[in-house]
Symmetry: none
Subunit: 216 residues, 2 copies
Amino acid sequence: MKNILIVDDDSELRVNLSEILSKKGYHTDEASTGIEAIDKATAKKFDVMLLDLMMPKMSGMDALAEIRKRSPGTKVIMLTAFATVDNAVKAIKKGASDYISKPFKIEDLDAIIRRALEESRFEEGIKKLDMDFTLSSLTNSIRRKVIKLLHQNRGLHLMEITKALDIEDHTKVVFHLKNLKESGIIEQDKEKSYFLTKEGEKTLECMKILENYLSR
Amino acid sequence: MKNILIVDDDSELRVNLSEILSKKGYHTDEASTGIEAIDKATAKKFDVMLLDLMMPKMSGMDALAEIRKRSPGTKVIMLTAFATVDNAVKAIKKGASDYISKPFKIEDLDAIIRRALEESRFEEGIKKLDMDFTLSSLTNSIRRKVIKLLHQNRGLHLMEITKALDIEDHTKVVFHLKNLKESGIIEQDKEKSYFLTKEGEKTLECMKILENYLSR
DNA sequence: GTGTTTTGTGAAGAAAAATTCACAGATCGA
DNA sequence: TCGATCTGTGAATTTTTCTTCACAAAACAC
């Protein structure tokens, strides 16, 4: 069950929200100040925190900064009675997941919570298998070159690839082609010429993104 | 001199803005559509892009996504005639640096541009990463987990990491930590606790990009 | 101090990845 | 048909990567 911490100085709102979210299947806790929120979040792992922007003593914005530092895994959704673009921009840049103005429809809030949970699920890294496969294709520089080559000229024969890469032993190329074939990155037509699959194009795209990112 | 690309379908605004910013000491270019912006940004490196949200054909939001992918170094500031909290949240989450509504005072825009440049100056300090190095760090799933872990909680000790990853033999973890240290992805302070370097954060960013891409 | 936990080293071995080589069927051009 | 080239297999070997283990200094707990 997912843990949600509700942080607001308005106790009525806290209790109401708590009840509604419990019915929706979440486990909820409450805090009435920024300090209390920080303490509770430090002591226990929350998946999501609903954080009021306007609170006496410590503002929600300051609390947000501290919480992002101490509990980076917790997704923070900001609540506010007076939504402004400026504050929204600031909050998101400080690491909030979303920003919703009070009063809100409970369905809207629920949708936002779901989205935040989706993000954290994503960050946990469920897509490990694909990742391993793709990365192990990309780690080898010969394979990277093959992928690029086949993207540039679709449908090359073994010896054409071998010569293009300036490799003496063609069986070395065969080894990597086999590897790429097994990963579903390339295929062969009946004329024995190799070409990228859809997956292959996607892998190439990954490579480009990485190169782009790394070359800065 | 810093390069700024002004993207808006309103040519009057482009010309005005271009003139004002030139006087302020920036070098400016113009684009009237999202497609043109993407092309220009791909061809030449811009430090900052001013991107209108509402444009015919490709929306600024879609252009933003594409530009973040292709030119991750360029800071994007969104302009819009109708500022809404929702759009601001969306834009910032997609990687925009800021969000300003038209009409704006030129001093405000200048302040925002300066802030964006400040951000990129900070990011410039990061060393370029080598593809082979980065990929070989990422291929191993233990190392990937360590990177994620150290991103979430900055400054962990050996045994904390070992327990968090649920590994019996701590020397196995030592092996991978050493590897990461040699690649410049993590460092250790005098209290022996490990944390990500700037390059490490960047590597994590790569990982996220890949995951993001692969999970679609 | 004395035992315990933490943080590591370095060597040995296992496992995985990559290379090299001997060989062979298929195909192509004459 | 005959030699040459292309395409590939499978086994042996090397190289790289990862794991395991024995051991030890340093910090910490009592």
